[in-house]
Amino acid sequence: MNHDRNYMSATPVAEAAGEGAPLYAGGLEETLSQPQTPYDPHPGFWKDQWKRIKKHRNLLVFLLPAMLVSLVFSYIPMFGILFAFKDPTQFDLAKADVMWNLTHGGWTFNNFVSIFYDASFIKAVGNTLLINVIRLVLCFPLSIIIAVQLSELKSQSLAKVILIVISIPNFLSWAIVIGIWRGFLDPDIGLLGRVTGHIMAQDVWFKPLLVFFSAWKNAGWGCILYYSAIMAIDKTYYESATLEGANRLQKMWYLTIPSILPTIALTLVLNISGMMATGFELVYTMMQVNRGTFTSSQIVLDTYIYQISVLNRENVPFATALGVFNGLIGLFLMVGGNYLTSKTLKRGLW
C-alpha cells in the first residue's frame, strides 16, 4: 500500500515540474506543495517487505516444511548434474562411494557430445516420440469424443453410470492392467489370445499394444474433465443454436468443441510437455512380463536411462547426462507448448 502511494505521488511531481503546466485541474497546487523527491521506482521497498515479514512471521514457519522437502529432494539432487561432467573412464561406483567419485577423477563435457553418437539413444528417442505422437493423435481425442458422446445422451444419469464404469481401469496399477491383458491375450487360456496368438511376445505388437493399454487405462478417466466442462456450458446457447437451425452435428462442432477449448488447451500443453516420457512403469512392465529382453524396437528413453544407470551401473556419468538432457527437453517442450497454445488458443498453463 505504502509503496503504491509513494509511486503515484512521485510521478506527477516530476512531470509537472518538467512541463510547467498543470496535468489535471485542481491538483497542481497540492502536488507542488509536497517536497520533491528524486524518482525512485521502488520507494521504501525493503522497509515494506520487512513490515510484511513481521506481519506474516508465523506463516513463514508454515512454509518451512514444504520448502525443506523441495530443497532436499529436488534442489540438492540438482547438484548431481555435476556427475554428467565426470570422466566415465575414471568413475567407478564399485570401487568407491559416490562422494569420492565426485571429488576425484577428471572432468569432461564429452558425455553430452557422446549422447548424439549413441545408437541406442537415437533409437530410444525415436521410439519415445513415435509412441507419444501416436498417443497424441489417437488417445488424446478419444477422451474428448467419449465426453461429447456422453453429453449427447438423453439421460444424463445413464451418462454418469457409463462414466463410472469406464473410469474403473484408471484406479488399477499398471501391473494389474498388464496382468489382466496378459491373461486375456494368453495363447492357451485367454479368450482373445486363442484367436490372435501370443501377440504380447511379438515385437511388432509392442507399440500398438502399449498405445492400446494406455488408452484402455486412461481414456475413461480423462474424459471426466471434458465432460464436466461440457456440462458447465450454458444450455441457452444450445437453444438459440436450435432456433437458428443448427443440427446436432453442427451444434457439437461449432458450440461444444469451442466451449471446451480452454480445457483441451490445458491438457494439450500437459501432453506435449510429457512428450519425452512414456510412462516408465507401463513400458518396463510390458518389457519384463513376457520376455525380459531389451530389443531395439522396445527401448524408450525412461527405461534406457534406468537400464544403463541403476540396473547395470555401467556408465553413470553418461546416464546422468541423458537424464539432464531429457529434463531440458521436457522443460523446453513445456514452455514451448504453453507458448504455442497461448498464442493460438489464447489459453495456457500460465
Binding site: 515479514i53 514444504a66 520448502m67 467419449i146 449427447e152 463410472i164 481401469p169 443440427n247
Partner: protein, 423 residues
C-alpha cells in the same frame, strides 16, 4: 409443359421430380450416407457378433446382433421416410403451409392448390408430426445419431469390462477349468484366494500390504498437510517474496535432474531397500499445492479477520477455520494421493531390489509376481493354478481402491471441482 408432366406421371411423381430437380444434392448425400451407414453397421456388426457366437459367447453375440439389426433397420426406415417426406414436401424446407399453397397456386393453378390443401396425405402428415417438416427429418437423423452413440459407448463398456470380469473370475475358479472361463467362474473355489491370503503366500502378501498401507498413509497425511500449510501462506496476497517463493516451488515441477542423482543421493543416505526412500521421494507435490492455493484464495478474508479479532492464532485459524472450510479440495487431493501412491511402483523399482521382500510395496510385489510368471513350479497344484493365484493376489490388492469407489462415484456426480493450475 407442367400440365403435361403432371398428366403423364401423376401427382406424386411430379412433386418428386420437382424436388429432385431443386434439391437433388442433399437428398442424394443423405441417402448415400444412410445406405453406407446401414451397410457398414451390418458388415462390421455381423462379423463381431459371429466372432462372439463362435467363441461360445452366444448370448452376448445375440445381443450384439440384435443391436446391429436395430441400427440397420433404423437406417433403412429413416432412408424411406427421407424420400417420402421429400416427395410430398412441395415448396422446399421449412416453409409454412400458406406459403407452400401460394407456390402451388402459382405453379399448378387454383384448383390444384385447393386439392393439395385438402389432400389427405399432406394434411395428415402435418397433423401427425405436429411440427415443422424440418423437424421430422432431423428427428430421423437424431435416431441414427443416438443409436450410433449408444453402440459406440456400449462397445466401450464391453472393452473395459470384459477383460476385467474375465480375469478376476479366474481368482474364484479352479485352475483345471481355466480355459472355459468367459465372464464368471466355471468351477467356483476359494483355493487361490486362500493360498494368497491365508496359507503359503500369506506372509509375503500381507508384508507387502502393510508396507503399502504405511507408505500410502504417511505420504497422504504428511504431503497434503505440508502442501496445504505452504499454500495457505502463499494464498496471502501481501506475503513477502510471494512470487519468488512460488517460482521456487514451480521450478521443481518444470525441471528435474533425472533419476540418477536421486538414486545416488538415496544410496548415499543409506535408504536403498527401505520404504523410507519411497515415502520421502513422493512427499513434494507442487500440483496439489497450487490447487490448495487457488482454493484458499477464494476463502473470504472477513471470516479470518473476525477470527483474528477474537484472538485466534495463525495455527488455530488454519486448523479450525481454513481446513474445515476447504474440505472438498482436501478430500480430492487426498484421494488422488492415495490412489497414486497405492498404485505406483516406479520409485520402488528404483530404490528397492526384487529380492528385498521386507520393503516391497504391494504394486511392486505384483509386478515381481508377473515378471516371474511361474511362482513355484515344483508344487503340482501351483502348476495348474499359477494364473488363478496371480489373479487372486491382484484382486486382493485392489480392495482399498474398491473401498474408495463410493467417493469416486460422488466425485463424478458432483463434477470436477479442481481450480485451474495458475502459478
Amino acid at each position: 409443359m407442367k400440365q403435361g408432366i403432371y398428366r403423364f406421371f401423376g401427382n406424386y411423381a411430379l412433386r418428386h421430380f420437382k424436388y429432385w430437380a431443386k434439391n437433388s444434392a442433399p437428398v442424394f448425400k443423405g441417402a448415400l450416407s444412410k445406405t453406407l451407414t446401414a451397410l457398414g453397421c451390418l458388415t462390421i456388426g455381423l462379423a463381431i457378433s459371429l466372432l462372439l457366437i463362435f467363441y461360445s459367447l452366444w448370448w452376448l453375440g445375440v445381443a450384439f446382433l440384435a443391436l446391429v439389426l436395430l441400427v440397420a433397420v433404423s437406417n433403412i426406415v429413416s432412408f424411406h421416410s427421407y424420400c417420402y417426406l421429400n416427395a410430398w414436401e412441395l415448396g422446399g424446407e421449412g416453409k409454412p403451409l400458406d406459403e407452400i399453397l401460394a407456390i402451388a397456386r402459382g405453379r399448378f393453378g387454383e384448383a390444384e392448390a385447393k386439392r393439395l390443401a385438402t389432400s389427405d396425405r399432406m394434411m395428415s402428415k402435418r397433423r401427425h408430426s405436429g411440427r415443422h417438416p424440418n423437424k421430422i427429418r432431423e428427428s430421423s437423423v437424431d435416431i441414427i445419431l443416438n443409436v450410433i452413440n449408444l453402440t459406440a459407448l456400449f462397445a466401450g463398456i464391453v472393452i473395459i469390462c470384459f477383460p476385467l470380469l474375465n480375469y478376476f473370475s479366474l481368482a474364484f475358479n479352479d485352475g483345471a477349468f481355466n480355459t472355459q472361463v468367459v465372464l464368471f467362474p466355471v468351477q467356483p473355489t476359494l483355493a487361490a484366494l486362500k493360498y494368497v491370503l491365508i496359507t503359503t503366500g500369506a506372509a509375503e502378501f500381507w508384508q507387502a500390504f502393510a508396507n503399502s498401507t504405511i507408505i500410502t498413509a504417511t505420504v497422504t497425511i504428511a504431503s497434503n498437510l505440508m502442501m496445504a500449510l505452504a499454500a495457505y501462506s502463499l494464498s496471502k496476497r501481501d506475503f513477502p517474496f510471494r512470487g519468488g517463493i512460488l517460482m521456487y516451488f514451480v521450478i521443481t515441477m518444470l525441471f528435474s535432474s533425472g533419476i540418477v542423482p536421486i538414486y545416488l543421493m538415496m544410496s548415499m543416505l543409506g535408504l536403498l531397500n527401505n520404504i523410507l526412500s519411497v515415502i520421502l521421494i513422493s512427499l513434494s507435490n507442487v500440483a496439489n499445492m497450487l490447487y490448495f492455493k487457488t482454493f484458499f484464495e477464494g476463502i473470504s478474508v472477513d471470516i479470518e479477520e473476525a477470527a483474528k479479532l477474537d484472538g485466534a492464532s495463525d495455527l488455530q485459524l488454519f486448523f479450525l477455520i481454513v481446513i474445515p472450510m476447504s474440505l472438498p479440495i482436501i478430500g480430492t487431493c487426498c484421494f488422488f494421493t492415495i490412489v497414486g501412491t497405492w498404485n505406483s511402483y516406479g520409485s520402488a523399482m528404483l530404490f528397492i531390489d526384487p529380492g528385498a521382500t521386507k520393503a516391497q510395496p504391494l504394486a511392486y510385489y505384483l509386478y515381481i509376481m508377473l515378471q516371474s510368471s511361474t511362482i513355484n513350479r515344483l508344487d503340482p497344484w501351483l502348476q495348474t493354478n499359477a494364473q488363478n493365484v496371480e489373479a487372486a493376489a491382484m484382486l486382493a490388492s485392489i480392495i482399498p481402491i474398491i473401498l474408495m469407489y463410493p467417493y469416486v462415484v460422488k466425485y463424478i456426480k458432483g463434477g470436477l471441482q479442481l481450480g485451474s493450475v495458475k502459478g
